[in-house]
Amino acid sequence: MNRYELKLDSLTKYFGRRLVFRDLNIEYCQCGIYGISGPNGSGKSTLLKIIAGISTPSKGKIIHTAEGKEIDTAEIHERIGFVSPYLVLYEEFSCRENIEIMGKIRGIEPDEPHITRLLETFGLADRQNDRLKFYSSGMKQRMKFIFALLHKPALLILDEPTENLDNEGKNKIYELIKNYSASNIVLIASNEDSDLQLCTSSINLLEHK
């Protein structure tokens, strides 16, 4: 049912003059969970940023297609959800305010039942009016998931999704990822074995040097 496709076409990235990875040719056409592994500094986060359209590759390109139509790079951000350790939300605002502001800047109508469901799934419903700066790191991590799922993206990009979470939180996230992947594409970059076990297939960036 999902008609979203992602193609990496001989993607190459240099940092300055240092090669990060070379000639990545992958297609993600089916719904499911796909993994990206590799040691620290192998370019996992960089690759995800390129896929998200935030970073530009040195050579090659990424092609996002929805319902057979190619999506303009400037509009990729409307189709994806992104969770990353580098992501920081506005800490001077409360969880609720963050949700409202993000929705307005994205230009989407607030979908109350969806928001309530998300808040309950991630256990932030009672503290939705507290400012983010008073949250623990685990709660902030869960808040990032709400941020990523707010606009119901067809492609969910997760960079170390279970960082800062306890076991209970991890299991909840795994369950959510499994459900979400039934009708969407989920990409996970991680070094944790438990994260990568979810994936139906995974690539190792070390093989693309």
């Binding site: 940092f15 300055g16 003059r17 240092r18 530009t56 040195s58």
Partner: protein, 222 residues
Amino acid sequence: MSYVIIAGISFPIVEKPEAWYHFPLIPGLGENAKIIFFHVPTAWITVLAFLMSTIFSIKYLRKKDLDDDGKSQTALELGMVFCILATVTGAVWAKFTWGEYWSWDPRQTSIFALLLIYGALFALRSAVENEEKRATLSAVYSIIAFVTVPFFVFIMPRIMKGLHPGSADDTNAGPVVNFKMNSNMYLVFVLSVVAFTILYFWMWRVGSRSLNIKEKLLKNYR
């Protein structure tokens, strides 16, 4: 190598204009005028280097090739040196002709603005660690700076009256270079401009090549 020889031959000519016997002085300027052989070429190189730096910056933004950034940076460094030289020779000449080292003549102000832009670009370059980010940011800044230059050209004559030859209100019909030069002097002048240009291009080639080779070698040790 041939450039070096040409530059080497033309240098003594430039430095010792008194070796030329038939060398009339421009009325009103006297011996002071001989600084023209340095001042005009250095000012010309300043502008040329800035132009080249901007062109290679644009090229970098299009192709993302760090070699272009190296070329742009070398042009920038050389341009800065020539900019200082042009400012100093200009100030010295101004002291003996107009009586003041600095009088905010339109062209003095323009070269001052160029000096500021060069300085700002160096400050920016030294403040960014990441090579690519540095190249991109300095390229963007030099393009922004470049588009402000025409505004200077417009605004200057409105604010200050010009002393330079060729200014809008040049009533005293100053020593306009092209008309009043003796043929001997003209030859030296042209040779000097050509020699300085060749010297600049030679320095720029050596500089940008060595910079890029250095970067490539350093990559292996990082």
